[in-house]
C-alpha cells in the first residue's frame, strides 16, 4: 500500500504538490489523473525518494522508500523510459539492477522474455525506439517481483497492440493482489485501464472514485427541439436552467434533467418534437472537474 500524507512540494516559487492526502490500495488498478503540470510525476518522484517533500510524507507499507532494504523487491517503478545509459545494453542494464538488489541473474532473462525484447537485449539502449525503451522500463520494474508498481504515463510511445498488452498486464498484476498505480493525463485511458481514479489539478486533490462515480457526478445536458424555442428558452431560464446553445435545430440545456425540461415545455404549452438527454463524455467530465485548475490552457481564438 502507498500512503500519501499531507504531501507538499515546492520548487522555488512553484507549488507543484499542494497538501495531497490519499492511499493507493492493493488488488486494483488505481489511476492517477490530472492535466499537464498538475504534479503527478512530482508525487511519484517523492514516493520513490528521488525528490524531498517540502512537508508531509509518502510511505510504502508504512516505511519511507529510502529505508527499504532491497527496494526493487517491494516497489517497481517506471518513471521515464529513457532514463537509461544509452551506451549500455538492455541485458547489462538489467544485470546491474538485479545485482544491486540481490536478485538472481536468471530473473533478467525471464523479464526480458516477458516484455518481448530478448532478441534485442544485447543491443545498446540508445538505439531503442520509445516503445522498446518503455518495455525495458517495465522489465526493470518487474525484476524484483514487487508487490507495488508505479507507472508514469506508461502508454506513451506504445503502439495499439502494446497499449492493449499493457492494459491487460495491469489487470493481471492487480488480480494477483498487487498495488498498481498508473498516471495519465487522459481520462479515456483511465476509463479503460483503471478501477479507481484519483484526480488532481494544480497539485491539489480534486476527487476520487470509480469511473462510474465520476461520470455520475458530472452534469449532462439535454437536447430539445420544440415548436417555440424562444419561449422555451425563457421558461427554462425561470427554472434555473442554462441554455448552452440555441438555433433552428433546437436548444442545448444544462443544469436540468430531460424530465424537467419536458415538464416545463408541457407547462407553458409548447410541443416537444425531440428530447434527448446527453451524458457528458469522459473528457468533458474530466475537463469539468479540472476546469479551475488547468495550468497550461490553450487559447483557441485570436492570433499568435
Amino acid at each position: 500500500m502507498i500512503k500519501i500524507d499531507h504531501l507538499t512540494k515546492r520548487y522555488g516559487g512553484t507549488l507543484a504538490v499542494n497538501d495531497l492526502d490519499f492511499e493507493v490500495k492493493p488488488g486494483v488498478v488505481t489511476g492517477f489523473l490530472g492535466p499537464n503540470g498538475s504534479g503527478k510525476s512530482t508525487t511519484m518522484r517523492i514516493i520513490l525518494g528521488l525528490d524531498r517533500p517540502s512537508s508531509g510524507q509518502a510511505t510504502i507499507n508504512g516505511q519511507r522508500f529510502a529505508n527499504l532494504k532491497d527496494p526493487m523487491r517491494e516497489v517497481g517503478a517506471l518513471l521515464d523510459a529513457k532514463a537509461v545509459h544509452p551506451g549500455r545494453t538492455a541485458r547489462n542494464h538489467l544485470r546491474a539492477l538485479a545485482a544491486s538488489n540481490q536478485i538472481k541473474r536468471s530473473r533478467v532473462d525471464e523479464v526480458l522474455d516477458f516484455v518481448g525484447i530478448s532478441s534485442v537485449a544485447d543491443k545498446k539502449v540508445g538505439n531503442y525506439s520509445l516503445g522498446m525503451s518503455q518495455r525495458l522500463g517495465i522489465a526493470g520494474a518487474l525484476l524484483g517481483d514487487p508487490g507495488i508498481l508505479l507507472f508514469d504515463e506508461p502508454v506513451n510511445g506504445l503502439d495499439p497492440e502494446g497499449i492493449k498488452w499493457i492494459r491487460e498486464f495491469f489487470r493481471t498484476l492487480a488480480s494477483q493482489g498487487r498495488t498498481v498505480f498508473v498516471s495519465s493525463h487522459l481520462m479515456s485511458e483511465m476509463a479503460v485501464s483503471a478501477d479507481e481514479i484519483i484526480v488532481i489539478g494544480r497539485g491539489k486533490f480534486i476527487t476520487s472514485g470509480s469511473i462510474d462515480d465520476l461520470t455520475k457526478t458530472a452534469k449532462g445536458t439535454v437536447l430539445v427541439r420544440a415548436s417555440d424555442h424562444d419561449k422555451l428558452a425563457s421558461a427554462v431560464a425561470l427554472h434555473h436552467g442554462v441554455v448552452h446553445e440555441a438555433n433552428d435545430n433546437g436548444l442545448i440545456i444544462g443544469d436540468l434533467t430531460s424530465d424537467e425540461v419536458g415538464q416545463i415545455a408541457f407547462d407553458v404549452g409548447i410541443a416537444v418534437f425531440e428530447l434527448v438527454p446527453q451524458r457528458a463524455s469522459l473528457e468533458e467530465v474530466f475537463m469539468d472537474l479540472t476546469a479551475d485548475s488547468v495550468e497550461y490552457e490553450s487559447h483557441s481564438s485570436g492570433t499568435v
Partner: protein, 265 residues
C-alpha cells in the same frame, strides 16, 4: 545505516555499470597510451640527446620522474573517467533508475567510489610500473637508470599510481557537484594545467608559498625520489592531496544528500 550485504550488492552493480560502458574502457586505454606513449617518446629523446645535455642537467637528472612524464596528460584521462562515471548518470537521466534501486545515497556513493578507486589504483600502478620499466630499458647504457630495488624509487613509482587514483576521485567529486560533464572537465583541466601557468606570473615569493599546494606540484613530489626544491616531501604531499580531494568529496556528498535527484536538469 549502511548494511554490509547491501553495500556489497550495490558495489557489484556499480562494477557491472562501470565496465559495460565504452567511455570507461576508452579512458583506461587512453591512460595507458598517454602515459606509456609519452614516456617512451621522452625517454628516447633524452637518450638520443644525452651527449648534448649540460653537465648541470645531467647531474640533476631524475630517471624516475622523467620516465613518468606522461602522467601530465594521463592525469586528465583518469579525471575524465571519474567525472563521466557520475555525470553520465545525470546526462542520461539514469541517476533516477540508480537511486530507485539504491535509495541510500551514502551507500550508492560508497559503492561508486570503491569501484572507481580500486580500478584506477590497479590501472595506475600497472601503467606507472610499466612506464618506469620501459623508460629504464630505453635509458640503459647511456642515461643513468634507477631500480625498484631502491626504496625511494619504489615509493615514487607506487605513489604515482596512487596519485592517478586520487585524481580520478577528484574528477568524480567535481562531477557530483556540477552534474555536467563539460563544465567539470574544463575545471579539472584548469586546476591541473592552467593554474600552474597562472602561478608562474605571480611574484617569486608568492609562487614559493602557493605552487607547492597545487595538485600537479603535489603529484610531482609524490613521484620524485627526492623532493624537488620548494615542495613537500612525498608522504606530506600524499597526505595534503588526499585531504584536498577529501574536502571536495565531502562537499559533493553534502550536496548530493540534500538535492532532489529526480528532476531533469
Amino acid at each position: 545505516m549502511v548494511n554490509e550485504s547491501t553495500l556489497l550488492a550495490s558495489t557489484k552493480a556499480e562494477w557491472i555499470k562501470f565496465r559495460t560502458v565504452r567511455s570507461s574502457m576508452m579512458g583506461v586505454i587512453l591512460t595507458f597510451v598517454l602515459i606509456i606513449g609519452l614516456g617512451v617518446l621522452v625517454s628516447s629523446l633524452e637518450r638520443s640527446h644525452w651527449s648534448q645535455v649540460s653537465n648541470l642537467r645531467q647531474a640533476t637528472f631524475d630517471p624516475v620522474s622523467s620516465s613518468l612524464v606522461g602522467i601530465l596528460f594521463g592525469q586528465l584521462a583518469v579525471g575524465v573517467i571519474g567525472t563521466l562515471f557520475i555525470t553520465s548518470e545525470y546526462s542520461s537521466g539514469s541517476i533516477r533508475t540508480t537511486l530507485t534501486a539504491v535509495p541510500n545515497r551514502l551507500r550508492l556513493i560508497a559503492s561508486k567510489l570503491f569501484v572507481l578507486f580500486a580500478t584506477l589504483l590497479v590501472v595506475g600502478e600497472v601503467v606507472c610500473v610499466a612506464a618506469f620499466l620501459i623508460g629504464q630499458r630505453i635509458y640503459f647504457g647511456v642515461v643513468p637508470t634507477a631500480s625498484l630495488d631502491n626504496g625511494a624509487v619504489l615509493r615514487s613509482v607506487l605513489l604515482a599510481g596512487v596519485y592517478l587514483a586520487l585524481l580520478g576521485i577528484l574528477g568524480f567529486s567535481l562531477g557530483l557537484i556540477f552534474r555536467q560533464s563539460g563544465a567539470c572537465i574544463s575545471l579539472f583541466v584548469t586546476l591541473l594545467l592552467v593554474v600552474p601557468i597562472i602561478g608562474f606570473f605571480f611574484p617569486q615569493s608568492w609562487q614559493n608559498d602557493f605552487q607547492r599546494f597545487e595538485p600537479s606540484t603535489l603529484g610531482q613530489s609524490m613521484f620524485s625520489p627526492s623532493a624537488p626544491s620548494n615542495s613537500f616531501g612525498a608522504w606530506s604531499a600524499t597526505i595534503i592531496l588526499t585531504a584536498f580531494v577529501g574536502v571536495v568529496l565531502l562537499i559533493a556528498l553534502a550536496l548530493f544528500e540534500r538535492r532532489d535527484a529526480g528532476a531533469v536538469t
